[in-house]
Symmetry: C2
Subunit: 131 residues, 2 copies
Amino acid sequence: MVRKTKRSIQWVQEKNQKKYAGVHLIAEFWHGKIIDDSREIEKILIEAVKRSKNTPLKLAIHKFSPQGITGVILLAESHIAIHTWPEINYVAIDIFTCGEKAIPKRALEYFKKAFKPKKVDVKEIKRGLVN
Amino acid sequence: MVRKTKRSIQWVQEKNQKKYAGVHLIAEFWHGKIIDDSREIEKILIEAVKRSKNTPLKLAIHKFSPQGITGVILLAESHIAIHTWPEINYVAIDIFTCGEKAIPKRALEYFKKAFKPKKVDVKEIKRGLVN
């Protein structure tokens, strides 16, 4: 984890399009591998950050009783969060990354490999879109 | 902050509608009060959690150089995140709360009072929607 970081806005802008601060992938995973070990979720979060070329700052994880894990990793580029409900085999994933260097879809692909969901729903939202 | 928590899925279901796990409010605040003190952002996050009847678990905050703050509070109900870019007077807010007890819109209203943005864009997404 990084302690001090310089950061200034790095707009994302495609040709002839409006500029925006970043991309937020909102994913729902259903009926996949149940992972109810917080160390494993921690490793998955860290690997996802690495693969998507993000900069990790701080990690917070909590394990519920009798099941379920909630975890987030703060990034220089924003955050990645995982919330699991093993009792209904559902995992909510957020990948919110700013700037042009991060590749949030790589994190999503990695999460799919880790959780192997049979059903996936993904929404992509532009954050900080300048109208 | 709470250390041990029991949690099981608490579906949200309106009359004759499909059930879902929770609500995610995605807000963009522009041209408001610039808050670049991490203690102040921490207090705002904690107050937002209280007003929206959520249960705080863990807090992680990071201050960038020369400006900008990124912070998240993990909840028994999911998470609330704030990312600020004072240099463009933009704040990205996520309020993701599961179950029927939380009132995420109260957190949003409180954030509006705190940041006083001149321009606000809010999207509301149902998370864990059962099709």
